[in-house]
Symmetry: C2
């Protein structure tokens, strides 16, 4: 191929992204720079975090520059190389973009992966990539629940949440998940083995109030949650905060309810963190990147034993990037959302 | 004396307490119960936390029952005893109430104190009591700042905040305090040795916006705060959250901006805790009560060396309890607020 299709951020979304915030352009395939290489992106990870990177706001990564492709973790094949460490044909995982070809220079988060050990390269974006390992390290290293403790997970049917709940069960916790709608709640129980599923929506589809949701959590966990794995923020988090056990640990992993909200909803019950002498950990998996191989091996072992199920929601085609990305916010998505761009070189 | 004046919680305040929320009644002095004693309260601690105890809301202590005296830490003298451990004339520190005489039973937070080592028994409510030791253990055990780190303190002119700032200086930190009004800000620099004082009010007396306050903090701490000691919550906390250094530690010690607010203001920038991989500790000093003697000795040593100044704002007379308590919320109070009830037996 000689054309590089690129899904660019054309302007900063205000609230929920609209198609006009992006543009799909065709540019020449770049050449490998000295010391670097060009990767043919095959699978791209679509994550709520990308919405945050589109805002011009301080965060753990700089905003995506306007006119650049939307930043994404991808797995792909080296197509051209002037690096002594990467050869054409090597499979690599790295922070690239929603485009056919990305230029990689030395340094940064790029590693070779062995695709012969998995049924699909996309596994390195789900179970054995940042998503699965966000769940793994967040639970085993940050929250460190003890057997018998109660684990409360929000966004529980999502890619991270469903893994967190299953790892919690493996660790001996009683696991309560919060998700939206009866179908997702059924999956929590039937597919992922949660002990309790709480629907944050009413039968009519409106979001329950903080008081309503707090009462349902209280009924499921009368002694409170020892560990909260937070992916949602906003009212869901406020309801959880009213149900903390003393010395609870809260892993703040995401706040998807806020990403499309120009006016931040905020959290009103932070006082409960004080009252229960709880600890809230701001958590990013990037500190654990050097341990990805170790964590990935544990996850692969659990999957081989049938104890861990990591679903993928594979959408196809760079030209469908917008529609695919929006599945994260409409509730359509269950499991790790991945955009397939190509099979290989 | 045969009369026990008691400052009772008559009804739950809605927002800022009004005089009608309380009643001062005269009842007979109680008798010592089997195994317990009666304490003649001499000094009572007035703290923002008491406002929280007046609400019928879940917290770390049960709400004050309506018709009971307002719960308060007091220092006083044993007036009558049927306890083998406490004799008439012993000075004791304990959780009692805003009343002339309180009944103590075994257990709970009550300890004898040696008033011969201090210039006033009220010291056990300030430097060597819960307030001074909230600052001491919160900083030395929870936040654990390293020399050269930047410490940001809100409510900095308050009893806890002024002690936190001074202990931070003793530990080698650069200390930035946030307080309301030029007089308090001057005290931070001149009396307490803070490096920078930031006024959260404009010259016209209105509270600055989150953006305005955040910009002033950024100017004072371009690399962000390594440690935040939070006493205020609300907009002040939101401005602080926009100025966290990576891996910042936040000690959530109080949220005085919320105590009189029926509609919780909330915090909108919690995302920054995630983005900066910060940790927020919900902190109560009660876990450190067994170490009060140890901490009090350190504080007394610093005071003797002239390195630590703990001011007291001593108001007089149980009949003035309401006016004295309100000094906490009007901005009138600087230093540890104490209500003097009696000199001794």
């Amino acid at each position: 191929m000689t054309v590089n299709r690129r899904f660019l951020l054309a302007r900063r979304p205000h609230g929920t992204p609209v198609p006009q915030d992006f543009s799909l352009v065709e540019q020449p395939v770049p050449e490998a720079p000295e010391g670097g290489f060009v990767v043919r992106n095959c699978y791209a990870s679509l994550d709520p975090a990308q919405r945050g990177w589109m805002d011009d706001a301080p965060s753990y990564m700089p905003p995506i520059p306007l006119g650049d492709p939307v930043r994404a973790t991808t797995v792909g094949v080296v197509a051209a190389s002037k690096s002594p460490d990467f050869a054409v044909g090597d499979w690599v995982l790295g922070m690239n973009g929603l485009e056919d070809y990305s230029v990689n220079v030395a340094g940064g988060f790029t590693m070779k992966v062995d695709v012969s050990q998995v049924d699909s390269p996309s596994r390195f974006l789900s179970a054995m990539g940042a998503v699965g390992l966000t769940a793994y390290f967040g639970l085993t290293e940050v929250a460190r629940p003890k057997a018998g403790e109660t684990l409360l997970v929000s966004g529980a049917a999502g890619a991270v949440g469903s893994a967190v709940g299953q790892i919690g069960k493996i660790m001996g916790c009683r696991v309560i998940g919060i998700a939206g709608g009866p179908a997702k709640c059924r999956r929590l129980i039937e597919d992922y083995g949660f002990d309790v599923a709480i629907d944050y929506k009413t039968a009519e589809g409106r979001a329950k109030s903080v008081a309503e949701l707090a009462a349902e959590i209280r009924a499921a966990a009368p002694n409170g949650a020892d560990v909260v794995f937070e992916n949602v923020g906003g009212d869901v988090m406020d309801a959880e905060l009213l149900n903390l056990a003393k010395y609870a640990r809260i892993v703040l992993c995401g706040m998807i309810s806020e990403y499309n909200s120009p006016e931040k909803i905020g959290v009103r019950n932070l006082w409960q963190v004080l009252a229960q002498q709880a600890t809230l950990y701001g958590y990013l998996v990037m500190d654990y990147v050097p341990r990805f191989a170790e964590g990935g091996a544990v996850m692969a072992g659990w999957m081989a034993e049938g104890r861990l199920r990591i679903d993928e929601d594979v959408q196809e085609g760079l030209e469908n990037a917008y529609d695919a990305f929006m599945r994260l916010f409409t509730g359509a998505n269950t499991g790790k959302l991945v955009l397939k761009i190509a099979d290989g070189l």
